[in-house]
Protein backbone atom coordinates (compact mmCIF):
# COMPACT_ATOMS: atom_id res chain seq x y z
CA UNK A 1 0.00 0.00 0.00
CA UNK A 2 2.83 2.37 0.71
CA UNK A 3 0.88 3.92 3.55
CA UNK A 4 3.17 2.52 6.18
CA UNK A 5 6.69 3.62 6.32
CA UNK A 6 8.88 0.64 6.51
CA UNK A 7 12.10 0.88 4.65
CA UNK A 8 12.77 -1.58 1.91
CA UNK A 9 14.94 -4.43 3.05
CA UNK A 10 13.89 -4.08 6.65
CA UNK A 11 12.25 -7.08 8.17
CA UNK A 12 8.49 -7.28 8.57
CA UNK A 13 7.11 -4.88 11.17
CA UNK A 14 6.23 -6.38 14.53
CA UNK A 15 2.59 -6.24 15.65
CA UNK A 16 3.58 -3.47 18.06
CA UNK A 17 5.10 -1.35 15.28
CA UNK A 18 2.14 -2.07 13.06
CA UNK A 19 -0.27 -0.87 15.75
CA UNK A 20 1.74 2.34 16.18
CA UNK A 21 1.81 3.11 12.46
CA UNK A 22 -1.89 2.33 12.03
CA UNK A 23 -2.68 4.52 15.01
CA UNK A 24 -0.71 7.43 13.61
CA UNK A 25 -2.67 7.33 10.39
CA UNK A 26 -6.06 6.95 12.06
CA UNK A 27 -5.31 9.76 14.52
CA UNK A 28 -4.36 12.23 11.82
CA UNK A 29 -7.72 11.55 10.19
CA UNK A 30 -9.54 11.78 13.54
CA UNK A 31 -7.86 15.03 14.52
CA UNK A 32 -8.44 16.79 11.22
CA UNK A 33 -11.90 15.28 10.78
CA UNK A 34 -10.68 14.43 7.31
CA UNK A 35 -12.48 11.59 5.58
CA UNK A 36 -11.31 9.56 2.57
CA UNK A 37 -13.75 11.38 0.24
CA UNK A 38 -12.28 14.76 1.07
CA UNK A 39 -8.81 13.35 0.57
CA UNK A 40 -9.90 12.20 -2.87
CA UNK A 41 -11.09 15.72 -3.68
CA UNK A 42 -7.71 17.12 -2.63
CA UNK A 43 -6.02 14.55 -4.83
CA UNK A 44 -8.12 15.53 -7.86
CA UNK A 45 -7.33 19.21 -7.33
CA UNK A 46 -3.62 18.47 -7.01
CA UNK A 47 -3.73 16.51 -10.26
CA UNK A 48 -5.33 19.39 -12.12
CA UNK A 49 -2.72 21.87 -10.87
CA UNK A 50 0.39 19.74 -11.29
CA UNK A 51 -0.59 18.22 -14.62
CA UNK A 52 -0.54 21.67 -16.20
CA UNK A 53 3.25 21.59 -15.91
CA UNK A 54 4.14 17.96 -15.66
CA UNK A 55 2.96 14.77 -17.25
CA UNK A 56 2.08 12.77 -14.18
CA UNK A 57 0.93 9.24 -13.63
CA UNK A 58 -2.42 9.78 -11.98
CA UNK A 59 -3.05 6.11 -11.31
CA UNK A 60 0.14 5.70 -9.32
CA UNK A 61 -0.29 8.93 -7.41
CA UNK A 62 -0.71 8.68 -3.65
CA UNK A 63 -2.08 11.18 -1.18
CA UNK A 64 -1.99 10.29 2.48
CA UNK A 65 -1.87 11.80 5.93
CA UNK A 66 0.91 11.12 8.39
CA UNK A 67 2.05 12.28 11.77
CA UNK A 68 5.79 12.83 11.71
CA UNK A 69 8.12 14.85 13.85
CA UNK A 70 5.31 16.32 15.91
CA UNK A 71 3.29 17.67 13.00
CA UNK A 72 0.50 16.35 10.85
CA UNK A 73 1.58 16.18 7.24
CA UNK A 74 -0.19 15.73 3.97
CA UNK A 75 2.13 13.46 2.09
CA UNK A 76 1.89 13.05 -1.66
CA UNK A 77 3.80 10.91 -4.03
CA UNK A 78 3.29 11.92 -7.66
CA UNK A 79 5.17 9.79 -10.17
CA UNK A 80 6.14 11.70 -13.31
CA UNK A 81 5.71 9.67 -16.46
CA UNK A 82 9.06 8.45 -17.56
CA UNK A 83 10.73 10.93 -19.78
CA UNK A 84 14.35 11.63 -20.56
CA UNK A 85 15.29 15.24 -20.37
CA UNK A 86 18.41 16.18 -22.29
CA UNK A 87 19.83 19.65 -22.65
CA UNK A 88 22.24 20.55 -25.46
CA UNK A 89 24.37 23.60 -24.97
CA UNK A 90 24.65 26.09 -27.76
CA UNK A 91 27.14 27.69 -27.64
CA UNK A 92 29.31 25.13 -25.73
CA UNK A 93 29.24 25.46 -21.96
CA UNK A 94 32.77 26.91 -21.62
CA UNK A 95 31.68 30.06 -23.39
CA UNK A 96 30.31 32.47 -20.84
CA UNK A 97 26.94 33.73 -21.77
CA UNK A 98 24.17 35.56 -19.99
CA UNK A 99 21.64 34.09 -22.27
CA UNK A 100 20.73 30.46 -22.33
CA UNK A 101 20.33 29.22 -25.81
CA UNK A 102 19.81 25.61 -26.54
CA UNK A 103 17.37 22.86 -27.18
CA UNK A 104 15.63 20.64 -24.73
CA UNK A 105 15.00 17.17 -26.02
CA UNK A 106 12.36 15.21 -24.26
CA UNK A 107 12.27 11.60 -25.23
CA UNK A 108 9.51 9.26 -24.27
CA UNK A 109 10.92 6.11 -22.86
CA UNK A 110 9.99 3.08 -24.94
CA UNK A 111 9.01 0.86 -22.08
Amino acid sequence: MGVFEFRVGRKKPTPGELAKERLKVVLVHDRLKLNPELLEVIKKELVSVVSRRLDIDEDQMQVSLAHEGGTDNLRTSIPIKRQKVKFEWDPPSHTPSTELRGKIHIEENDE
Binding site: T14, P15, G16, E17, A19, K20, R22, L23, K24, V26, L27, D30, R31, H67, G70
Partner: protein, 278 residues
Amino acid sequence: MDSRVITITSGKGGVGKTTTTANLGTALAMEGKKVALVDGDIGLRNLDAVLGLENRIVYDLVDVVEGQCRLRQALIKDKRLPELYLLPAAQTRDKNAVNSIQMEQLCQQLRQEFDFVIIDSPAGIEQGFRNAIVGADEIIIVANPEMASVRDADRIIGLVEAAGKPEPRLILNRLRAEMIRRGDMMDVADVLEVLGIDLLGIIPEDEAIIVATNKGEPAVYEKRSRAGRAFLNAAMRIIGQEVPLDELDESPTLLERLRRLVGFGPAPVEKRIRSQSS
Protein backbone atom coordinates in the same frame (compact mmCIF):
# COMPACT_ATOMS: atom_id res chain seq x y z
CA MET B 1 -6.09 25.16 51.84
CA ASP B 2 -5.27 24.46 48.22
CA SER B 3 -7.15 21.32 47.43
CA ARG B 4 -6.92 19.58 44.08
CA VAL B 5 -9.77 18.11 42.09
CA ILE B 6 -8.49 15.36 39.77
CA THR B 7 -10.61 13.48 37.26
CA ILE B 8 -9.68 10.00 36.06
CA THR B 9 -11.03 9.36 32.58
CA SER B 10 -10.32 7.30 29.46
CA GLY B 11 -13.00 7.41 26.78
CA LYS B 12 -12.89 3.67 26.32
CA GLY B 13 -14.40 1.42 28.96
CA GLY B 14 -12.60 -1.34 30.80
CA VAL B 15 -9.12 0.15 30.74
CA GLY B 16 -8.86 0.57 34.51
CA LYS B 17 -10.34 3.93 35.50
CA THR B 18 -12.03 2.67 38.64
CA THR B 19 -9.02 0.61 39.67
CA THR B 20 -6.80 3.65 39.13
CA THR B 21 -9.14 5.92 41.11
CA ALA B 22 -9.29 3.48 44.04
CA ASN B 23 -5.55 2.90 44.12
CA LEU B 24 -4.42 6.50 43.69
CA GLY B 25 -6.94 7.67 46.31
CA THR B 26 -5.91 4.99 48.77
CA ALA B 27 -2.22 5.72 48.19
CA LEU B 28 -2.72 9.45 48.77
CA ALA B 29 -4.67 8.72 51.95
CA MET B 30 -1.86 6.42 53.09
CA GLU B 31 0.41 9.44 52.70
CA GLY B 32 -1.77 11.28 55.19
CA LYS B 33 -3.80 13.30 52.69
CA LYS B 34 -7.50 13.82 53.21
CA VAL B 35 -9.11 12.29 50.14
CA ALA B 36 -12.63 12.10 48.74
CA LEU B 37 -13.28 9.61 45.95
CA VAL B 38 -16.30 10.44 43.82
CA ASP B 39 -17.96 7.79 41.68
CA GLY B 40 -19.11 9.68 38.61
CA ASP B 41 -20.47 6.64 36.87
CA ILE B 42 -24.14 7.14 37.70
CA GLY B 43 -26.20 4.03 36.99
CA LEU B 44 -23.15 1.75 36.89
CA ARG B 45 -21.57 2.17 40.26
CA ASN B 46 -18.47 0.14 40.95
CA LEU B 47 -15.97 2.18 42.92
CA ASP B 48 -17.75 1.17 46.14
CA ALA B 49 -17.11 -2.51 45.41
CA VAL B 50 -13.45 -2.01 44.48
CA LEU B 51 -12.99 -0.30 47.85
CA GLY B 52 -15.04 -2.94 49.69
CA LEU B 53 -17.62 -0.39 50.84
CA GLU B 54 -20.63 -1.69 48.91
CA ASN B 55 -22.59 -2.63 52.04
CA ARG B 56 -22.38 0.77 53.66
CA ILE B 57 -24.16 2.94 51.14
CA VAL B 58 -27.17 4.85 52.38
CA TYR B 59 -27.18 8.03 50.32
CA ASP B 60 -25.47 8.76 47.01
CA LEU B 61 -24.26 11.58 44.78
CA VAL B 62 -27.68 12.22 43.25
CA ASP B 63 -29.26 12.47 46.72
CA VAL B 64 -26.70 15.14 47.63
CA VAL B 65 -27.20 17.08 44.42
CA GLU B 66 -30.99 16.97 44.78
CA GLY B 67 -30.81 18.02 48.40
CA GLN B 68 -32.22 14.76 49.81
CA CYS B 69 -29.34 14.64 52.28
CA ARG B 70 -26.32 16.61 53.35
CA LEU B 71 -22.93 15.91 51.77
CA ARG B 72 -21.55 14.56 55.05
CA GLN B 73 -24.36 12.02 55.31
CA ALA B 74 -23.56 10.58 51.90
CA LEU B 75 -19.79 10.35 52.37
CA ILE B 76 -18.71 6.86 53.41
CA LYS B 77 -15.63 6.48 55.54
CA ASP B 78 -13.07 3.91 54.43
CA LYS B 79 -12.61 0.73 56.43
CA ARG B 80 -8.95 1.29 57.15
CA LEU B 81 -7.93 4.83 56.43
CA PRO B 82 -9.52 7.52 58.57
CA GLU B 83 -8.88 10.24 55.98
CA LEU B 84 -10.37 8.43 52.98
CA TYR B 85 -14.01 8.90 51.97
CA LEU B 86 -16.23 7.73 49.13
CA LEU B 87 -19.14 9.55 47.57
CA PRO B 88 -20.94 6.72 45.76
CA ALA B 89 -22.84 7.00 42.50
CA ALA B 90 -26.57 6.41 42.32
CA GLN B 91 -27.34 2.97 40.98
CA THR B 92 -30.98 3.41 40.03
CA ARG B 93 -30.68 6.65 38.10
CA ASP B 94 -29.05 7.47 34.78
CA LYS B 95 -26.19 9.78 33.96
CA ASN B 96 -28.52 12.64 33.02
CA ALA B 97 -29.79 12.87 36.60
CA VAL B 98 -27.04 15.42 37.30
CA ASN B 99 -26.01 18.46 35.26
CA SER B 100 -22.69 20.24 34.91
CA ILE B 101 -23.60 23.15 37.18
CA GLN B 102 -24.63 20.83 40.01
CA MET B 103 -21.44 18.85 39.58
CA GLU B 104 -19.28 21.95 39.70
CA GLN B 105 -21.02 23.07 42.88
CA LEU B 106 -20.45 19.64 44.40
CA CYS B 107 -16.73 19.89 43.64
CA GLN B 108 -16.61 23.32 45.30
CA GLN B 109 -18.25 21.87 48.38
CA LEU B 110 -15.83 18.96 48.54
CA ARG B 111 -12.87 21.30 48.17
CA GLN B 112 -13.70 22.85 51.54
CA GLU B 113 -13.12 19.55 53.31
CA PHE B 114 -10.48 17.63 51.39
CA ASP B 115 -6.89 17.86 50.11
CA PHE B 116 -7.75 15.70 47.12
CA VAL B 117 -11.04 15.09 45.34
CA ILE B 118 -10.66 12.27 42.82
CA ILE B 119 -13.49 11.73 40.39
CA ASP B 120 -13.96 8.43 38.59
CA SER B 121 -15.40 9.34 35.20
CA PRO B 122 -17.76 7.06 33.30
CA ALA B 123 -16.65 5.73 29.92
CA GLY B 124 -17.77 7.63 26.86
CA ILE B 125 -17.80 11.30 25.95
CA GLU B 126 -21.37 12.21 26.83
CA GLN B 127 -22.93 14.09 29.74
CA GLY B 128 -21.40 11.81 32.38
CA PHE B 129 -17.92 12.53 31.10
CA ARG B 130 -18.58 16.27 30.84
CA ASN B 131 -19.90 16.29 34.41
CA ALA B 132 -16.82 14.46 35.59
CA ILE B 133 -14.36 17.00 34.15
CA VAL B 134 -16.29 20.25 34.67
CA GLY B 135 -15.01 20.90 38.18
CA ALA B 136 -11.55 19.37 37.75
CA ASP B 137 -8.21 21.17 38.07
CA GLU B 138 -6.34 18.23 36.58
CA ILE B 139 -7.21 15.34 34.32
CA ILE B 140 -5.54 11.95 34.32
CA ILE B 141 -6.15 9.74 31.31
CA VAL B 142 -5.92 5.99 31.73
CA ALA B 143 -5.06 4.04 28.59
CA ASN B 144 -3.94 0.55 27.66
CA PRO B 145 -1.25 0.06 25.02
CA GLU B 146 -3.67 -1.00 22.30
CA MET B 147 -5.20 0.84 19.36
CA ALA B 148 -8.79 1.37 20.47
CA SER B 149 -7.79 2.67 23.87
CA VAL B 150 -5.07 5.03 22.58
CA ARG B 151 -7.37 6.32 19.88
CA ASP B 152 -10.07 7.12 22.45
CA ALA B 153 -7.46 8.69 24.71
CA ASP B 154 -6.49 11.02 21.86
CA ARG B 155 -10.12 12.02 21.45
CA ILE B 156 -10.36 12.74 25.18
CA ILE B 157 -7.22 14.89 25.05
CA GLY B 158 -8.93 17.00 22.38
CA LEU B 159 -12.13 17.33 24.43
CA VAL B 160 -10.24 18.20 27.60
CA GLU B 161 -8.37 20.88 25.73
CA ALA B 162 -11.61 22.21 24.23
CA ALA B 163 -13.05 22.42 27.75
CA GLY B 164 -10.20 24.78 28.69
CA LYS B 165 -8.53 22.35 31.09
CA PRO B 166 -4.76 21.97 31.39
CA GLU B 167 -3.08 19.21 29.41
CA PRO B 168 -3.95 15.83 30.89
CA ARG B 169 -1.35 13.36 32.12
CA LEU B 170 -1.27 9.71 31.20
CA ILE B 171 -1.35 6.53 33.20
CA LEU B 172 -0.50 3.68 30.89
CA ASN B 173 -2.12 0.62 32.37
CA ARG B 174 -1.83 -3.12 31.85
CA LEU B 175 1.55 -3.25 30.18
CA ARG B 176 2.96 -6.65 29.50
CA ALA B 177 6.73 -6.45 29.51
CA GLU B 178 7.18 -9.80 27.84
CA MET B 179 4.91 -8.87 24.92
CA ILE B 180 6.70 -5.54 24.51
CA ARG B 181 10.04 -7.32 24.47
CA ARG B 182 8.79 -9.57 21.67
CA GLY B 183 7.46 -6.59 19.75
CA ASP B 184 3.89 -7.82 20.10
CA MET B 185 2.70 -4.83 22.11
CA MET B 186 3.23 -1.09 21.75
CA ASP B 187 5.92 0.27 23.99
CA VAL B 188 5.52 3.14 26.45
CA ALA B 189 7.56 5.37 24.14
CA ASP B 190 5.30 4.49 21.18
CA VAL B 191 2.15 5.56 23.00
CA LEU B 192 3.78 8.75 24.28
CA GLU B 193 4.96 9.64 20.80
CA VAL B 194 1.46 9.20 19.40
CA LEU B 195 -0.41 11.03 22.18
CA GLY B 196 2.17 13.70 22.98
CA ILE B 197 1.27 14.14 26.66
CA ASP B 198 3.24 13.68 29.88
CA LEU B 199 3.44 10.34 31.59
CA LEU B 200 2.31 10.01 35.19
CA GLY B 201 2.61 6.28 35.62
CA ILE B 202 3.27 2.91 34.07
CA ILE B 203 1.24 0.05 35.52
CA PRO B 204 2.23 -3.50 34.63
CA GLU B 205 -0.46 -6.11 34.03
CA ASP B 206 -0.86 -7.88 37.34
CA GLU B 207 -3.17 -10.65 38.55
CA ALA B 208 -3.00 -9.08 41.99
CA ILE B 209 -5.44 -6.42 40.73
CA ILE B 210 -8.16 -9.03 40.25
CA VAL B 211 -7.38 -10.56 43.63
CA ALA B 212 -7.49 -7.12 45.23
CA THR B 213 -10.82 -6.30 43.60
CA ASN B 214 -12.22 -9.65 44.74
CA LYS B 215 -11.23 -8.82 48.30
CA GLY B 216 -12.34 -5.21 48.10
CA GLU B 217 -8.91 -3.95 49.09
CA PRO B 218 -6.94 -1.84 46.60
CA ALA B 219 -3.64 -3.33 45.43
CA VAL B 220 -1.56 -0.50 46.93
CA TYR B 221 -1.85 -2.28 50.28
CA GLU B 222 -0.17 -5.31 48.77
CA LYS B 223 3.55 -4.63 48.85
CA ARG B 224 4.32 -7.61 46.64
CA SER B 225 2.04 -6.45 43.86
CA ARG B 226 3.94 -4.78 41.03
CA ALA B 227 0.84 -2.91 39.94
CA GLY B 228 0.24 -1.84 43.53
CA ARG B 229 3.76 -0.43 43.79
CA ALA B 230 3.37 1.26 40.42
CA PHE B 231 0.15 2.98 41.58
CA LEU B 232 1.95 4.05 44.74
CA ASN B 233 4.69 5.59 42.59
CA ALA B 234 2.12 7.43 40.47
CA ALA B 235 0.53 8.83 43.64
CA MET B 236 3.96 10.05 44.78
CA ARG B 237 4.38 11.85 41.48
CA ILE B 238 0.99 13.51 41.99
CA ILE B 239 2.22 15.03 45.25
CA GLY B 240 5.36 16.22 43.49
CA GLN B 241 7.92 13.60 44.42
CA GLU B 242 10.30 12.45 41.76
CA VAL B 243 10.08 8.72 41.31
CA PRO B 244 11.92 7.17 38.38
CA LEU B 245 9.67 5.67 35.70
CA ASP B 246 11.12 2.19 35.88
CA GLU B 247 8.03 0.14 36.70
CA LEU B 248 8.64 -2.31 33.87
CA ASP B 249 12.24 -2.94 34.82
CA GLU B 250 11.70 -3.95 38.40
CA SER B 251 12.47 -7.62 38.13
CA PRO B 252 14.49 -8.38 35.04
CA THR B 253 15.07 -11.99 34.21
CA LEU B 254 18.48 -13.52 34.70
CA LEU B 255 19.04 -13.60 30.95
CA GLU B 256 18.18 -9.92 30.72
CA ARG B 257 20.54 -8.97 33.51
CA LEU B 258 23.31 -10.83 31.75
CA ARG B 259 22.49 -9.09 28.47
CA ARG B 260 22.55 -5.70 30.12
CA LEU B 261 25.80 -6.53 31.84
CA VAL B 262 27.33 -7.25 28.48
CA GLY B 263 25.63 -4.23 26.98
CA PHE B 264 23.19 -5.86 24.59
CA GLY B 265 19.42 -5.94 24.53
CA PRO B 266 16.87 -3.17 24.82
CA ALA B 267 17.57 -0.25 27.11
CA PRO B 268 15.35 0.10 30.17
CA VAL B 269 12.04 1.82 29.45
CA GLU B 270 13.01 4.91 31.43
CA LYS B 271 16.02 5.59 29.20
CA ARG B 272 14.00 5.11 26.06
CA ILE B 273 11.39 7.61 27.27
CA ARG B 274 14.06 10.13 28.16
CA SER B 275 15.85 9.87 24.85
CA GLN B 276 12.54 10.13 23.03
CA SER B 277 11.28 13.22 24.81
CA SER B 278 14.56 15.12 24.50
